[in-house]
């Protein structure tokens, strides 16, 4: 009896130590990433870098800033997020309200986005590039928007669906039994899942804005601000990719750009937290 108790205690002790160890490992990992980016980035980041376009000699010397890349990234990711959400939200709703396994369309949709979710972004980029060549389109903001939308949709649908699945059937039944229509019931369900959906969508946006592979061939590069959808544009992840492989002092700029990108993503997840908290406070 005592022996058994003791071995149980040891077992728990070992497991707990392992969990703490793993957690610490992750924390160290995160801290070192942030430390590297901040310590190297802060040194080279300046007001000029983020507010000025590249100068005339940008490709031979560190001349001017990278406003074109910041704005280019935003110009591509913001519309892509809006279009992505506009497509994903109805799909998530459809699968939530008609989530019966017997619905063949729901089943097919789940299968399709699971496959899409697993496709690496470079493949999206290559696919979009092939199509663009076929229709005679140049690398442009529009191309970037299209491929980023493609990239975002499966992420949004998948995480939205996971969150919608957590809604207990009883809530749906409770609303129905009071005589609520499907649409009214959906609104009740939405109160429950909105915070999670907002978080999931902003995380998808964060993922998209940091992805270099998808925009590499589709958005191209330009040292100017894009004036129309058909102009090519620089993006932050590609700028980092280019500078980091160049001789000093270019890697400095890569760290600065990485810092800007990290700050944008951090801001996004911070916003999602604040929004989530606010919604939860008001509704739940």
């Amino acid at each position: 009896m005592m022996k058994k108790l003791k071995s149980k205690y040891v077992e728990e002790y070992v497991m707990r130590s392992l969990m703490i160890l793993a957690t610490l490992l992750v924390l160290v990992f995160v801290a070192s990433i942030i430390w590297t980016i901040f310590s190297k980035g802060i040194r080279s980041l300046s007001w000029d870098l983020v507010t000025r376009l590249p100068g005339k000699d940008w490709n031979t010397a560190p001349d001017g800033g990278f406003l074109n890349a910041i704005l280019g990234s935003l110009m591509i990711v913001l519309p892509a997020s809006v279009i992505g959400a506009a497509v994903s939200i109805p799909v998530v709703f459809y699968m939530t309200m008609y989530k019966r396994r017997t619905s063949r369309l729901s089943y097919m949709a789940r299968l399709a986005y699971d496959v899409l979710y697993g496709i690496p972004s470079i493949v999206y980029g290559a696919f979009a590039f092939t199509i663009m060549v076929m229709v005679g389109m140049r690398a442009s903001v529009l191309g970037g928007i299209l491929v980023t939308t493609l990239l975002i949709i499966p992420i949004m649908i998948r995480s939205g669906d996971e969150i919608a699945k957590t809604v207990p059937d009883e809530i749906v039944e409770a609303a129905y039994s009071l005589g609520a229509t499907k649409w009214e019931t959906l609104k009740v369900v939405l109160r429950q899942i909105l915070p999670g959906m907002v978080t999931a969508f902003l995380l998808a946006v964060g993922k998209a804005i940091g992805d270099a592979a998808s925009v590499m061939f589709t958005a191209g590069f330009s040292d100017q601000l894009a004036r129309s959808l058909s102009d090519p544009s620089a993006t932050l992840p590609l700028a980092i990719f280019n500078w980091i492989t160049m001789p000093d002092p270019f890697p400095e700029r890569a760290y600065a750009a990485a810092l800007v990108l990290t700050i944008i993503v951090l801001l996004l997840s911070l916003t999602s937290r604040i929004i989530t908290r606010r919604i939860t406070k008001n509704n739940l």
């Binding site: 017997t102 009883e170 039994s177 005589g179 229509t181 009740v188 739940l284």
Partner: protein, 259 residues
């Protein structure tokens, strides 16, 4: 809401068969639930009581691989076949209080007001808060929650949630109230409150309740249904069924349950 015409219309179940994944759950159920009476459905766990109540509200639709045939009519309107537009009104008239209480993700106040809002009842603010207070008082919850009406409903205890769900169903003024073990999580005193409420309510509403507490059934039932493995073994006047059962199975169940 005008509901005085419906008062004299019973709820009729005819040849109801229901199966899930090919497994029969309800077998040829024929019942007429009388008006202004308390009907108690009793039977061992898993015999299909909750499924029957859900079908009366057409909530079985959310279950996969479910097949149902037969008729459930109120006022001559078939609930099983009703079109979506009719269904909304039919569901309002037949309120279901679920076995597992489940507050809507909103405040205590809104939980009670929600049904009224979607049906456009009590549009004036004052009228609505009076309604909320009235039904919360009737189920014996008002004193416990009156200071935190805007708090989220899912923080209430299970017993409180059970009463909240009852108040929510009552607020839309249904003709029939289907209560699935509405007192299962309540202490004896609160249970009595609900029992007394049901006795009072039957002047205006008809009540169909499921209970495992036979003394409770004895106390308040007018009409009784004994369900066993998805079949109605016996139904009729409550005193008859409980004191003088015609069927051997009923007798055995009652003896087992009483001793």
């Amino acid at each position: 809401m005008e509901d005085n015409t419906a008062k004299s219309v019973p709820l009729i179940v005819e040849h109801l068969n229901l199966s899930i994944e090919g497994q029969p759950i309800l077998k040829d159920v024929n019942l007429t639930f009388p008006n202004n009476k308390i009907t108690c459905i009793v039977g061992p766990s898993g015999c299909g009581k909750s499924t029957l109540l859900k079908t009366l509200n057409r909530l079985h639709e959310t279950t996969d691989y479910l097949e149902v045939e037969g008729r459930v009519t109120i006022d001559g309107q078939d609930i099983i076949q009703a079109r979506d537009t009719e269904l909304i009104e039919l569901r309002r008239r037949i309120g279901l209080v679920p076995q597992k209480p489940c507050p809507l993700p909103m405040s205590i106040y809104d939980n009670v007001a929600y049904g009224c809002r979607i049906h456009g009842m009590h549009r004036r603010k004052k009228e609505m808060s009076q309604t909320v207070e009235r039904y919360l008082t009737e189920v014996g919850l008002w004193d416990e929650v009156k200071d935190r009406l805007n708090a989220p409903a899912n923080r209430l205890s299970i017993g409180q949630q059970q009463r909240l769900c009852l108040a929510r169903s009552l607020a839309v003024e249904p003709d029939f109230i289907l209560a699935d073990e509405a007192t299962s999580a309540l202490d004896p005193v609160s249970s009595r409150t609900i029992e007394n409420l049901f006795v009072k309510l039957k002047e205006k509403y008809s009540i169909i309740m499921v209970t495992h507490t036979l003394p409770q059934a004895l106390r308040i039932a007018d009409y009784a249904v004994f369900l066993y493995l998805g079949e109605v073994i016996e139904s009729g006047d409550a005193t008859e069924v409980f004191n003088n059962p015609k069927e051997e199975l009923t007798r055995k169940y009652l003896q087992g349950a009483f001793s």
